[in-house]
């Protein structure tokens, strides 16, 4: 059977493109960020109203003008437990510069259990009781931890799925604090 040489060339080119694309995406995926998250970047963070553990009604808009680290977590999530003390430190360090860490507990545990969990980890930032609708607005939150970094202008700077290093988290915090700063200065 005689093969058309141009088909072989085209197939080889296509294979090369797929391999290059695959390697590129594999490198990108070493720092977890999903497609939905990429689409949310630069977009206004979905507004929400949730109850905090201490019974207060909290709106995302309450934090406008601050860099927000919005962390979706659950009591059954071990990686969440690792990064929460880092958030405590970051809140202490960058709070004076305008950082606000906000935790959203997305599990069926009772508020008492969530409260105990947070207290054991020394959480020094508001923890809100999550709702499915809020999770949906943020892309479904199919796994945890999931963290959104929101600039001072209320736009999503980055979204990270899964546990990443403390230094990567800190980089994102700096980005969130820097983003929208010009807008603030103009006001």
């Amino acid at each position: 059977m005689k093969r058309d040489p141009f088909i072989i060339i085209v197939a080889a080119m296509a294979l090369t493109i797929m391999l290059v694309f695959g390697f590129h995406m594999a490198r990108r995926s070493s720092r977890p960020i999903d497609k939905a998250g990429a689409q949310m970047k630069g977009q206004p963070a979905p507004e929400f109203t949730l109850q905090s553990l201490d019974g207060k009604t909290v709106h995302l808009a309450d934090f406008r003008g601050k860099g927000v680290l919005l962390n979706f977590w659950a009591t059954w999530c071990q990686p969440c437990k690792i990064e929460m003390p880092w958030f405590v430190e970051l809140q202490k360090r960058y709070g004076p510069q305008g950082l606000q860490v906000v935790g959203v507990a997305m599990d069926d545990a009772s508020p008492e259990d969530i409260s105990k969990f947070a207290k054991d980890l020394g959480v020094n930032y508001p923890v809100l009781i999550g709702k499915e609708a809020v999770g949906d607005a943020y892309g479904g939150v199919p796994f945890m931890p999931e963290t959104f970094y929101i600039g001072r202008d209320g736009k999503v700077v980055d979204k990270v799925v899964g546990l990443i290093s403390r230094s990567d988290i800190e980089e994102d915090v700096k980005k969130a604090l820097a983003e929208g700063q010009a807008v603030q200065a103009e006001r």
Binding site: F6, I7, I9, V10, A11, M13, A14, I17, M18, F21, G22, M25, A26, S29, P32, D34, K35, A74, T75, W76, C77, Q78, P79, C80, K81, I82, M106, D107, A109, D113, F117, P142, F143, M144, P145, E146, V161, G162, L163, I164
Partner: protein, 179 residues
């Protein structure tokens, strides 16, 4: 002509390459091996093994995780009336540490695990095949993230048979006296 064909083919292949799913997170899955029909005798307890497989790269908590907040793997079987489900045996978890908590040992199942279920039909059960239904609750994680607790259906069939006729002892006989 050949140039056009090449260009069209290249465009098709390129769009196929780009439309490949962006490598992201895989979703964990736990599956159960088919359970061969097991014959169980009325009135007698019979052990049935249920073998579960966890997709590569994931783990689930064992039945006795090392933290009160972690969700244990647990099986619940709803049996028909007169078929008693006895003890469910869980294997001990593997003590493992993960990149997200290198200093902490978690008790987990990885790759596969087998649960033992004791089934005992009462003597009143009509012999025949019975389907037992239940669900396995588990919560999976990979090396960086955790997935919400899930329940998977667990179904298996047993064939209930009559036990062997009761062994009758010969009634005590008075010694024959041969005169």
């Amino acid at each position: 002509m050949a140039y056009n064909r090449t260009l069209i083919s290249l465009l098709i292949f390129t769009s196929l390459a780009i439309s490949q799913d962006i490598p992201g997170r895989k979703i964990p899955s736990v599956t159960m091996s088919p359970v061969p029909l097991k014959t169980v005798t009325r009135g007698k307890p019979t052990d049935i093994d249920l073998r579960f497989h966890i997709s590569p790269g994931f783990h689930v908590n064992s039945n006795k995780p090392n933290s009160e907040f972690l969700i244990p793997t647990a099986l619940k079987i709803n049996a028909p009336t007169d078929i008693v489900i006895g003890k469910i045996t869980y294997p001990p978890g593997q003590e493992a540490s993960f990149p997200f908590a290198p200093d902490e040992k978690l008790s987990v199942y990885r790759t596969e695990f087998t649960l033992g279920v004791v089934v005992r039909p009462l003597v009143s059960v009509v012999p025949g095949k019975y389907m037992l239904h239940g669900e396995l609750k588990y919560q999976a994680c990979d090396n960086a993230a955790c997935y919400p607790p899930k329940k998977m259906p667990v179904d298996f069939e047993v064939k209930v048979v009559k036990g062997p006729p009761p062994h009758r002892r010969n009634p005590a006989q008075s010694p024959h006296v041969h005169g």
